[in-house]
C-alpha cells in the first residue's frame, strides 16, 4: 500500500465511520473523531469511564495524520502514518471489525405487476495463508446461492458494479434460504478445503526438510551433554516456530446478499464479455 492509497484509505475509513474531516491538504488529514472512534482508537478507557461516571462533557480527540511527510506543510504536527505503523494497523483491524458483516439488497429493481423475489446469496471472503519460514497469502471471495447451493468465485469483485442498498426496496420480497446459512458455511469450508488440497504443497515439504536439517544440527550440538540445558529447548521451540508448515484460513468479512434471480448470471456474462 503506497502513501497515497493510505491517505485515501484513511479518508474513506473516517467518512464511513461518521467522523468529520476538519482539514485535508497535501500529505495530511485532520479528523474530528466521534465518541465511538475515540474509544476505538485513542486507548483511553479511564478517561471515558471517568467521564461517564461524573457525566462530564465528552471531548473526543481530533487527530492529524501525515500521510506524506515530504509534501505536508513543514509546521504541521501530527502522526506519521505509513504501512507497518501501529496506527494504520490498528485502523486496519478496526476496519475489518466494522466491515465484518453485511446485509444488502439489490437496488433499482424494475417495478412490475407482481412483487419481485430476491434470492439469498451468502458471501464469505477469506485469506488463505501458507506459512512456514516463508509466507504466501491469497484471497478467496466465495458466494453460495442459498437456494440451489451453486458456488461461485470472485463474488466480491463481481458485485462491484451492482447497485445495492441496505434497505429492502419496495415491491420486493426475499426468498427464505433452502440451505440454512450455517450449512452454507459448511459447504464453503468444504469448497475451500478442496481448493487447498488441489494446490501444490511442495513448499511445506521443503520447509520440513529445512526444519529437520536444523534440528539434526541442534541435536548434534548438544549430543555430548546428558542433561540438556534450557537453551536446547529454547532453540528447539524456535525452530518449530520458524519452520513448521501451517495453513490458516481467516475470514475477512462476509454477508448476505439478496439479488434478483438472473442478476448473478448477468454479471457473470458481463464479466466474460
Amino acid at each position: 500500500m503506497q502513501q497515497h492509497d493510505i491517505h485515501q484509505f484513511l479518508k474513506g475509513y473516517f467518512q464511513s465511520t461518521e467522523c468529520s474531516i476538519l482539514e485535508e491538504g497535501n500529505g495530511y488529514l485532520t479528523v474530528q473523531l466521534t465518541i465511538d472512534q475515540d474509544k476505538e482508537l485513542m486507548n483511553r478507557p479511564f478517561y471515558w469511564h471517568y467521564l461517564e461516571k461524573v457525566g462530564g462533557e465528552p471531548n473526543p480527540a481530533s487527530l492529524t495524520f501525515i500521510t506524506n511527510e515530504q509534501r505536508a506543510p513543514q509546521d504541521i504536527k501530527g502522526e506519521k502514518v505509513h504501512f507497518g505503523s501501529p496506527r494504520l494497523h490498528q485502523i486496519f483491524q478496526a476496519t475489518r471489525r466494522f466491515g465484518s458483516a453485511i446485509r444488502l439488497y439489490e437496488a433499482n429493481v424494475a417495478r412490475s405487476t407482481h412483487n419481485t423475489a430476491l434470492h439469498p446469496w451468502l458471501n464469505m471472503n477469506v485469506i488463505v495463508s501458507y506459512q512456514c519460514d516463508h509466507k504466501r497469502d491469497y484471497l478467496l471471495s466465495l458466494g453460495i446461492h442459498l437456494i440451489t447451493g451453486n458456488i461461485i468465485e470472485d463474488f466480491h469483485e463481481l458485485l462491484k458494479g451492482q447497485a445495492l442498498t441496505p434497505k429492502i426496496p419496495d415491491f420486493t420480497f426475499t426468498l427464505s434460504p433452502i440451505i440454512k446459512p450455517k450449512s452454507g458455511f459448511n459447504r464453503l469450508h468444504q469448497y475451500i478445503e478442496k481448493h487447498i488440497y488441489e494446490d501444490d504443497h511442495s513448499w511445506a515439504e521443503e520447509a520440513k526438510e529445512r526444519w529437520q536439517q536444523d534440528l539434526d544440527l541442534l541435536n548434534h550440538f548438544y549430543e555430548d551433554i546428558e542433561e540438556k540445558p534450557s537453551t536446547y529447548d529454547i532453540e528447539k521451540k524456535a525452530l518449530q516456530d520458524q519452520y513448521e508448515p501451517r495453513i490458516s484460513v481467516n475470514v475477512v468479512n462476509g454477508g448476505i446478499f439478496y439479488l434478483q434471480e438472473g442478476t448473478v448470471r448477468t454479471l457473470l456474462q458481463r464479466k466474460m464479455a
Binding site: M1, F83, A101, H134, L139, Q242, G254
Partner: protein, 560 residues
C-alpha cells in the same frame, strides 16, 4: 498433503448471531474497505521481496537488495551480515526486518546495539524503513512496544533481563556482534538464552583472531552448524588451522554468513593518492603571521580565538586577514572597541605583502594546476581567498567558477554544469552539502584545511564516491612553521585520514562520541600553555582514533 488447516470459526458464529438478530450490519463502504485492506496486505509470493515497494524514500544498492533476498529465501532468516564497513549493513538489516514484518511473520523485535548507536538505529528504522522502533528508556517498553532498540549492557541487567526473556521475540538483531566472540561472557550467555526464530548478527569484523570466535558466533545463530564444541576443536582448532586455509569450513560458514567486500559490490572504489605540498612563506608573509603570534602571547584570553582565526587566515591569503580586520572596524560601537594596535600592525604587514604582490601558496596552486592539466577542485575556508584565487587564475588564463554553500539549488547546479563542461577549476568554500556529485573530477587541492575531519571527508567524498572510475588525487597545502602544519602533521597524517575508506571515519567518530571535533581542536590550540603540551594533546587525540582504526583494520584483514 498433511498440513493442518485451521479455520477461523469465530467470525461465522458472530455472523450467524447477526443474521438471527437482524443486525448489526456494516455499511457497504467500510465493508469494501475491509476487503481492500485484506487485498493490499496479502503477500502474493513466497520469495519476491515486498519491502522495496513499501519504501519510497529508500533506494537500496544492488548488493544490499541481494543480501536481503538471500537471507530471506536461502538462509531462512538467520544470518551473519559481515559486509565491510561502509557498505550499509544497517540498510540490509532494515530491509530484511521490513520484509518479515510485511509478511506478518514478525511482530515482536529486539535490536541490541552499542549504547552510542541506539538513537541512530531508532531514527534510521523509523525514517528509512517506517518501522516504529522505540529506544528503550523505561522498563515497560519491553512489553508494550513491538520493536525495541537497546544496548546489550542494559538488556542483560536486571530487571530488564527477566522481562526480556519472557517476551516471545520473532526477530533479533545484534549489531557489532563480534563482541560476542567469547562464550564465557555474560553478554554471550544472555544472547544464547534469547529465542531466535529469525536473527541477524551484524559485524564488519567477524573473525578477529581465533577460530573459536567464529565458532562461538555461528553457534549463537545456529547451534550445531559448525558441529559441537568437542567436534569443532578436534577438527579445526587442534590442527591449528586457519579459517582462510580451510575450504570446507569456509563453505559451511558461507551458508550462514554474507560478506561483501568493496570489490564484490560492483562499486568501483578507486584509491586515494595523497600528497602533502609544503609551502614556504615569503619574508613579508612570515612577518604577518608572526605579528599575530606576538599579540597572542600578550593579549587577553578573550580575543585568543580571534587571533587563532587570524593565524589560520594568514596561512590562506592576506585578503582573508584583511576582511576580518575590516569586519572588526565595521563593528565598532559603544560596546565594542576594535583592537586598534593589532589592526594597525597587521594592516601595515599586509601592506608590505601587497608591495610584493605575491602569495606563496597561491603561486604554488597555479603551478600545480598547470601541471595537473585536468579538472581540479580547490577548497578554501575563506570567501576572500576564494575571490582572490579566482582573480589570480584568470590572470594566468585559467578558467574557474566559484561554489558556495549559500548558493541556491539552481545556481549550484549551474556551476556544476559549467565546471563539468566549460571550465577547469571549481573553487569551493564548502563541500556544498549532500547531493552534489563531482565524480568526473579526480583532483582535489586542499588549499587550506578545515579543523574537522568529517568536513574533510565530505570534501573528498564529493569525488571519491560510487561511480568514480579513476584514482583520486588529493593535494594538501601546509605552510611550514604554522598551525596549519601542526594540524596536518599531528592529526590528519597521523590518523592517515586521507587514505581512509569511505564510511570508516564515520564509524570511528561515532564510536568516539565526540560531538564537536572542531571545538576540541580549537581548545587544544587555545589552552595549551606550550607547544609541547599542544603536541601532546594532539598526539593523544590521534592515537585514540588510530587505535580504533587499527582494531577495525586488523580484524577486517584477518577475516579475508
Amino acid at each position: 498433503m498433511n498440513v493442518p488447516i485451521s479455520f477461523d470459526h469465530e467470525w461465522q458464529d458472530l455472523f450467524l448471531k447477526s443474521f438471527e438478530e437482524d443486525g448489526p450490519w456494516a455499511n457497504y463502504d467500510i465493508y469494501q474497505l475491509a476487503y481492500k485492506v485484506a487485498q493490499r496486505t496479502a503477500v502474493p509470493s513466497f520469495h519476491d521481496l515486498q519491502a522495496p515497494s513499501y519504501l519510497a524514500d529508500l533506494t537500496p544498492l544492488p548488493h544490499q537488495l541481494e543480501v536481503a533476498k538471500k537471507v530471506v529465501t536461502e538462509m531462512n532468516g538467520k544470518a551473519i551480515l559481515a559486509d565491510e564497513v561502509g557498505l550499509g549493513k544497517t540498510i540490509e538489516a532494515g530491509l530484511i526486518l521490513k520484509e518479515y514484518m510485511i509478511r506478518g511473520l514478525v511482530k515482536k523485535v529486539l535490536i541490541l546495539v552499542p549504547a552510542s548507536l541506539v538513537s541512530q538505529w531508532t531514527i534510521e528504522l523509523n525514517q528509512k524503513f517506517h518501522i516504529p522502533a522505540v529506544a528503550q528508556r523505561k522498563s515497560y517498553v519491553w512489553e508494550q512496544c513491538d520493536v525495541v532498540v537497546s544496548s546489550i549492557d542494559t538488556a542483560k541487567r536486571m530487571p530488564h533481563r527477566d522481562i526480556i526473556l519472557e517476551q516471545n521475540y520473532d526477530f533479533i538483531i545484534i549489531d557489532e556482534a563480534h563482541k560476542l566472540k567469547n562464550h564465557k561472557t555474560k553478554n554471550y550467555q544472555f544472547v544464547q538464552e534469547l529465542k531466535k526464530k529469525f536473527c541477524l548478527l551484524l559485524t564488519a569484523t567477524p573473525v578477529q583472531n581465533k577460530i573459536e570466535e567464529i565458532f562461538n558466533l555461528v553457534s549463537l545463530l545456529k547451534p550445531g552448524h559448525l558441529g559441537n564444541q568437542a567436534y569443532f576443536e578436534e577438527l579445526f582448532s587442534a590442527k591449528n588451522r586457519k579459517l582462510e586455509n580451510d575450504e570446507h569450513l569456509r563453505e559451511l560458514i558461507n551458508k550462514v554468513m554474507i560478506r561483501n567486500r568493496r570489490q564484490d559490490t560492483g562499486i568501483e572504489w578507486t584509491s586515494r593518492k595523497v600528497e602533502t605540498i609544503p609551502i614556504h612563506f615569503s619574508e613579508e608573509e612570515r612577518a604577518l603571521y608572526d605579528a599575530i603570534e606576538s599579540f597572542k602571547e600578550h593579549d587577553n584570553p578573550s580575543s585568543a580565538f580571534a587571533l587563532l582565526t587570524l593565524q589560520r587566515e594568514a596561512c590562506s591569503s592576506k585578503e582573508a586577514v584583511y576582511m576580518t580586520l575590516k569586519g572588526m572596524l565595521d563593528k565598532e560601537s559603544e560596546e565594542y572597541t576594535p583592537p586598534y594596535p593589532l589592526i594597525e600592525t597587521l594592516m601595515d604587514r599586509i601592506g608590505n605583502i601587497g608591495k610584493t604582490g605575491r602569495n606563496s601558496k597561491a603561486e604554488k596552486m597555479v603551478e600545480l594546476i598547470k601541471k595537473i592539466d585536468d579538472k581540479v577542485i580547490v577548497f578554501t575556508e575563506y570567501r576572500a581567498t576564494q575571490m582572490y584565487l579566482q582573480w589570480l587564475l584568470q590572470q594566468h588564463g585559467i578558467s574557474s567558477v566559484p561554489f558556495r554553500g549559500g548558493f541556491k539549488r539552481g545556481k549550484k547546479d549551474w556551476m556544476k554544469q559549467l565546471f563539468q563542461n566549460n571550465v577547469q577549476v571549481l573553487i569551493a568554500t564548502e563541500a556544498g552539502g549532500e547531493g552534489i556529485n563531482l565524480q568526473f573530477c579526480h583532483h582535489i587541492i586542499n588549499y587550506d584545511l578545515p579543523w574537522n575531519p568529517m568536513r574533510l571527508e565530505q570534501r573528498i567524498g564529493r569525488i571519491h564516491r560510487l561511480g568514480q572510475e579513476k584514482d583520486v588525487h588529493i593535494y594538501n597545502f601546509a605552510t611550514s612553521g604554522t598551525i596549519e602544519e601542526h594540524i596536518l602533521k599531528l592529526l590528519y597524517e597521523k590518523i592517515r585520514l586521507f587514505e581512509r575508506v569511505i564510511g570508516n571515519l564515520d564509524d570511528i567518530l561515532t564510536q568516539l562520541e565526540m560531538k564537536d571535533f572542531e571545538e576540541y581542536v580549537n581548545d587544544v590550540f587555545l589552552h595549551s600553555r606550550s607547544e609541547g603540551e599542544m603536541k601532546l594533546k594532539m598526539e593523544h587525540l590521534s592515537s585514540i582514533i588510530d587505535d580504533m582504526n587499527d582494531g577495525e583494520e586488523n580484524a577486517a584483514n584477518a577475516a579475508t
